[in-house]
């Protein structure tokens, strides 16, 4: 009798007691947000803060010393008339188009070649994927040496084949040489994305097309390509994201010289070589808005494409 009353009192106490912070955080209602706290802190510090900071200084003139002077939209006006910046922007788009289209074409060709299972497949795939995880900076240093005019392996081989040597780093060619380095590292990526795509295609449709006497070209254009389009979309989106940020291959080769200055490089040069934080922030904000605009459109397409493959 006595013990019962005691436990009742205890139960009553438990109900009245305020839940501890831990209990609130892990409760059914709040647990999903609790899990996100660390991520949100990281995002606030590393995304929101730089964004606000750059937005603020893009309206100021400041060289890291002394007081920042408010100049209104002058930095932005200067930006739109800055020939070097507009050229860097144009070059970035050029690199983007060249690299993405070459990677897709090479990738598609090789994916068709390797789409059926074959002996030694694991070894071929293993070797082909090797460059993808190697530091782009180190690869660009390597290719810089291989494309050297006097001792570079490429020119020595050309010479041995009876051809003439080429100035790979001339102002006319340097940008294309950098494109080549990037394409060389990344074509295995699009190849194996598309191999994965080709292997997951339903076989019966293709058998039906064969029975109906469709030519291989017709089957490819009307069946294979449309079915691969979500994956092609994924490749375009992801490569665009990475290529807009191209920086390492420039550092390893031309360092922005011989007409190869790209978007991130000119921001780096303005902010960290000339220490013009105000104008550098303006460029950074511009490049950020551009990226977000491109990526927001692409992210929608990507999500659609993901819906198709998941």
């Amino acid at each position: 009798m006595r013990t019962e009353t005691f436990s009742e009192a205890q139960a009553g106490y438990a109900v009245a007691r305020k839940p501890t912070i831990w209990e609130v955080l892990t409760s059914e209602k709040y647990f999903k947000w609790t899990l996100l706290i660390p991520l949100l802190v990281v995002l606030a510090i590393f995304m929101l803060y730089p964004l606000l900071y750059c937005a603020y200084y893009s309206f100021h003139q400041w060289g890291m010393r002394g007081e920042a002077i408010y100049v209104g939209a002058q930095n932005y006006r200067q930006l739109l008339n800055d020939k070097a910046f507009l050229e860097a922007l144009y070059r970035t788009l050029k690199v983007l188009v060249i690299c993405v289209s070459c990677e897709l074409l090479i990738g598609l060709g090789l994916a068709l070649l390797w789409s059926r299972e074959f002996p030694g497949e694991n070894i071929v795939r293993g070797l082909a994927l090797l460059p993808l995880l190697v530091a782009p900076l180190i690869l660009s240093l390597l290719w810089n040496f291989m494309f050297e005019y006097d001792f570079g392996a490429v020119n020595l081989i050309l010479q041995a084949l009876g051809l003439s040597k080429v100035y790979w780093w001339s102002p006319q060619r340097a940008l294309y040489t950098i494109c080549f380095i990037t394409i060389w590292q990344w074509f295995p990526f699009s190849t194996f994305v598309l191999v994965a795509g080709l292997r997951s295609l339903p076989k019966d449709v293709f058998e039906a097309a064969k029975v109906d006497g469709a030519s291989p070209w017709y089957t490819f254009r009307r069946l294979t390509l449309p079915m691969l389009s979500p994956l092609i979309m994924i490749i375009v989106v992801l490569r665009t994201m990475w290529l807009i940020r191209l920086f390492d291959p420039l550092y390893g080769t031309t360092r922005g010289g011989v007409q190869t200055e790209l978007l991130d490089w000119i921001v780096y040069r303005t902010a960290f070589v000339y220490f013009d934080i105000g104008y550098g922030s303006t460029m950074a904000i511009f490049s950020l808005v551009l990226t977000i605009a491109v990526c927001a459109i692409m992210f929608k397409m990507l999500m659609k494409a993901l819906g198709g493959t998941r």
Binding site: L133, F145, I244, T291
Partner: protein
């Protein structure tokens, strides 16, 4: 396939593999060449030369290679550990409850598209004031920032694959949410955690922009040391190749053993290669 078709298939395959592997092999060849064989104009010497350890000896003797290598190891391992904790919690929340209805997930992923230089400008000024420039801690913080979004998105895909019924069954058995996460969900996504961790290690290992801007001497990662061999007064191809040969080895090994997961990782989990 016809015999001719087979011959063509293997010819093309061999050619492609040669194009991919030869430049990588070139690093290892150059690493063992004497300066005379590096600066040669004879094509024959590209492959036939007398191997020497000279470049490695110079690298270890004249440059702080192992100090910088240690910096890279410390920074990439410590940042990966923190990233894995933050990301696995967040990814689970996104995968199970669709927290933020996709918008928050988009914000997260967009940090990966964020131009590195945008973050670099304010942090450079801030680090200078706080005395965090050229410290391993400061650089590791920046690596946490750029790896978190990637890891969250990749893990999101792995968490999505766990059937919700399992968790409901556990709740019926009286497990709390925390217990479910710790004792049921985490063991199930262990392969996903491993793959994600290796990717984070590799990205941090290879990272250059922040490493180059935020370190000088004490915390300098090894990629920055290697980049310094090119562009100074004389170009030091020998030590550069020797250093590169050592530094890329772990990433080559990772690529070889993770070949099944590379495509999945690089597409943020969208394509299962």
């Amino acid at each position: 396939m016809s015999t001719l078709g087979k011959v063509m298939f293997w010819l093309v395959t061999a050619f492609v593999l040669f194009v991919i592997v030869a430049p990588l092999a070139w690093i290892y060849l150059t690493a063992f060449k004497s300066p005379n064989d590096i600066f040669t104009t004879e094509a024959r010497k590209l492959i036939f030369f007398k191997p020497t350890m000279e470049n490695f000896n110079r690298l270890f003797r004249e440059f702080p290679f192992w100090d910088n290598f240690l910096n890279t190891v410390i920074i990439s391992v410590s940042s990966t550990v923190v990233v894995m904790v933050i990301s696995s919690l967040a990814a689970y929340s996104f995968a199970r409850w669709n927290t933020g209805k996709g918008h928050l997930l988009f914000t997260t992923i967009s940090t990966r598209m964020f131009p590195g230089v945008v973050a670099a400008i304010p942090f450079f000024v801030m680090y200078r004031n706080l005395g965090l420039l050229d410290t391993r801690f400061g650089l590791a913080l920046l690596h946490i920032y750029f790896n978190t979004s990637f890891a969250t998105f990749l893990l999101y895909g792995f968490f999505k694959e766990i059937p919700e019924e399992l968790e409901q069954a556990a709740m019926v058995d009286g497990y709390s949410r925390v217990d479910i996460f710790r004792k049921i969900v985490l063991p199930l996504v262990r392969p996903g955690l491993a793959v994600t961790a290796v990717f984070c290690l590799v990205w941090s290992w290879n990272e250059f922009l922040f490493s180059f801007l935020f370190t000088r001497v004490a915390a300098r990662p090894v990629t920055v040391l290697i980049s310094s061999f090119w562009g100074s007064i004389e170009v030091q191809y020998g030590p550069m190749a020797a250093g590169a040969a050592i530094v890329i080895l772990p990433t080559l090994v990772a690529a070889w053993f993770m070949q099944r997961y590379i495509i999945r990782g690089l597409t943020f989990g969208a394509v299962k290669g």
